[in-house]
Symmetry: C2
Subunit: 381 residues, 2 copies
């Protein structure tokens, strides 16, 4: 199978698996134990923290390990809601991940305001700026670095600057950016979340980079009092190895956008009426969100599966739910159109040849769907 | 090294590591993805859930996977605080783990009442009963199954019955019980938490068994809407293998208390003035909490380390903090006495011979500490 659902999760490399297994074998002690196995793991945990912080160009002292980006996003909103005055307001973009939108709604309720995006999928920077000037009491702004569904890059550095000038906390969900594009500039964010399994690491581990002092998960005061629960060193070590592995590939990754672009050029020829979300603006080099002109997305997913290609219909988090993902709706597409969206996302393993084969497979899938339709029309005219 | 800090964490077995690695290699898909790798993992995730539920004798439909017991305990208090009326009161035992005590304080504040324990370390069942009758508005009670520091078993089944009769939610932190004693009876609890790494599984995964419908970590609505964040199938699978492995050993585990008892008998002879916490009441078969008559616990930990034995000073969560653990204080010991507590905790790997060697090592350690003291008195009389 050629796997094109890397924005949902990535395959752990052999090096990552080996590091995980070695840690499970040799470094399974509890970092909070006073005995030797605990002390050794405590040292290694902080070495891994240094390594990850270096690759993300952030301060190791502000890195808290979490169970993933979802927990990290929840934590920062819970922190903020308690840390700032009760009247503090939050701005969040309309295309944030559900793990940002839901905590924003939960912790800030009517004090959370959604900032719309342009039809391209990019947040309107001028609108953000005017909101920051006009809405009183804004203390918290959340904008993702790159959208998980369209891959559209957001002007997070500019929004970080706008917030810093106004002493407003700026949170950046960098889950889809980190591991795909260089991490420079993240130190300008007040807080930052990322997940290991989006960059070749294991599930169940991620980071929150933040100086907000309040914990979200309470108890044994691990992680300098910022996150309770026994530290998961084997997963952290595997994340660290994944970060190192990806760092070496980062320089060549952006050039791979030409593979995706060639794929899209062929698709636009072969599928009249096809739309590509965010095509006119900067996107992640690995992502293509297609609005198919004809059949529903799950029918394409099924046909492509039989042809040896794994693709998705959008955010893994929105699959199987009754509601369409909020991202295409925020970009002005209808719920009916959202049902025709197919998301393609590559990563380190997928080759130019895989992209070209995928374009061919799409044509084959469409032919089969046409045949199914004409066949079924004989049975039920 | 002979490892006697299993209440802090346990060594993952070769079978557990193999299962983890196989899942990282073959089942790394996102269970929420519509493509083949996702669907396959979704099926396997529910198979592992069934397997774990079966070994804990609970309903699979009420099992939510979390990052561990700490998150599970936090989640159930957050649920309860929102689910019950704002005036609802909570009772928690004074010897609960910090991951229960801290959320109780955070979510219920002055509406949380601590229930004292007897000097033996057992909660006073009559006191619980009278509190349930006398304190109005109690909707939530939390009592651990077995204490992490002393190993003392609590009358959780009786408290579960008292609560059920009164339609009060009963939460049981079963982290130290599960994997050491049979799980029968837990279906009588309204909710239950456990952690894989206390029973031979990996860190970073645990369960909350509960029918309370509110989520704690919000976002993509995984786990039937009860816990957001990409499901960590490899860790869940490893937990399931750990549960199966321990289930086969459960029948023989309680008989191993005689090894611990022989150790304690020798210690009481060799260390006049030694006290053993909870010795007069039912305890976990693996735990011995010693109040040493002489030197501070960290000095024993250091000497025993050099002699090849890893022991602890108490809950891993309380190490390195300024405050002594609340458990010995709740049992009536002084902060000075708490500094002389050494916790020994075995598990599947430790043999009768290991226990006997440990008793010898304690004598050797004491001799060295005596020598150090007499030596140092020469230097600084």
């Amino acid at each position: 199978m050629a796997y094109f659902d890397n924005n949902a999760t990535t395959r752990p490399s052999a090096e990552v698996r080996a590091a995980f297994d070695q840690a499970l074998r040799e470094s399974w002690g509890n970092p909070s134990s006073p005995c030797r196995s605990g002390v050794e793991v405590r040292v290694r945990l902080d070495q891994a923290r240094e390594c990850i912080a270096r690759s993300l160009e952030v301060d190791a002292g502000s890195v808290t390990f979490t169970s993933g980006s979802t927990e990290a996003n929840n934590a920062v909103f819970a922190h903020a809601a308690r840390f700032f005055e009760p009247s503090a307001r939050a701005l969040v973009s309309s295309i944030e991940h559900p793990s940002v939108l839901a905590p924003a709604d939960h912790w800030f309720a009517e004090r959370a305001q959604t900032v719309p995006v342009e039809p391209t999928g990019v947040i309107d920077l001028g609108h953000v700026s005017s909101l920051l000037d006009e809405v009183s009491g804004v203390r918290f702004v959340s904008l993702m670095a790159a959208n998980n569904e369209t891959g559209v890059l957001q002007p997070w550095r500019e929004v970080a600057d706008l917030c810093r000038e106004r002493e407003i906390h700026f949170h950046c969900d960098a889950t889809q950016w980190i591991g795909k594009l260089p991490s420079c500039g993240f130190s300008a964010c007040s807080s930052l979340s990322a997940s290991a399994h989006k960059l070749g690491g294991p599930k169940g581990v991620g980071i929150l980079v933040s100086d907000l002092p309040r914990p979200f998960i309470l108890g044994g005061s691990q992680e300098g009092g910022r996150r309770s629960g026994t530290e998961n060193y084997p997963a952290v070590k595997a994340m660290s190895v994944a970060c190192e592995g990806m760092s070496s590939l980062l320089p060549e990754f952006p050039d791979r956008s030409c593979w995706r672009d060639s794929f899209e050029t062929r698709m636009l020829v072969d599928f009249p009426g096809l739309q590509i979300l965010g095509k006119e603006v900067p996107r992640l080099w690995n992502t293509s969100m297609l609005l198919m002109p004809d059949y529903e997305n799950l029918r394409y997913v099924g046909k492509l599966d039989k042809l040896g290609f794994e693709v998705s219909t959008g955010s893994a988090c929105s699959i199987g739910k009754d509601d369409a993902s909020s991202v295409p709706l925020a970009m002005g597409f209808s719920p009916e159109q959202a049902k025709r969206l197919v998301r393609i996302s590559s990563y380190a393993e997928q080759t130019e040849s895989d992209w070209m084969s995928l374009a061919t497979a799409f044509c084959d899938a469409r032919d089969e769907l046409d045949q199914d339709s004409s066949g079924s029309s004989v049975i039920s005219p």
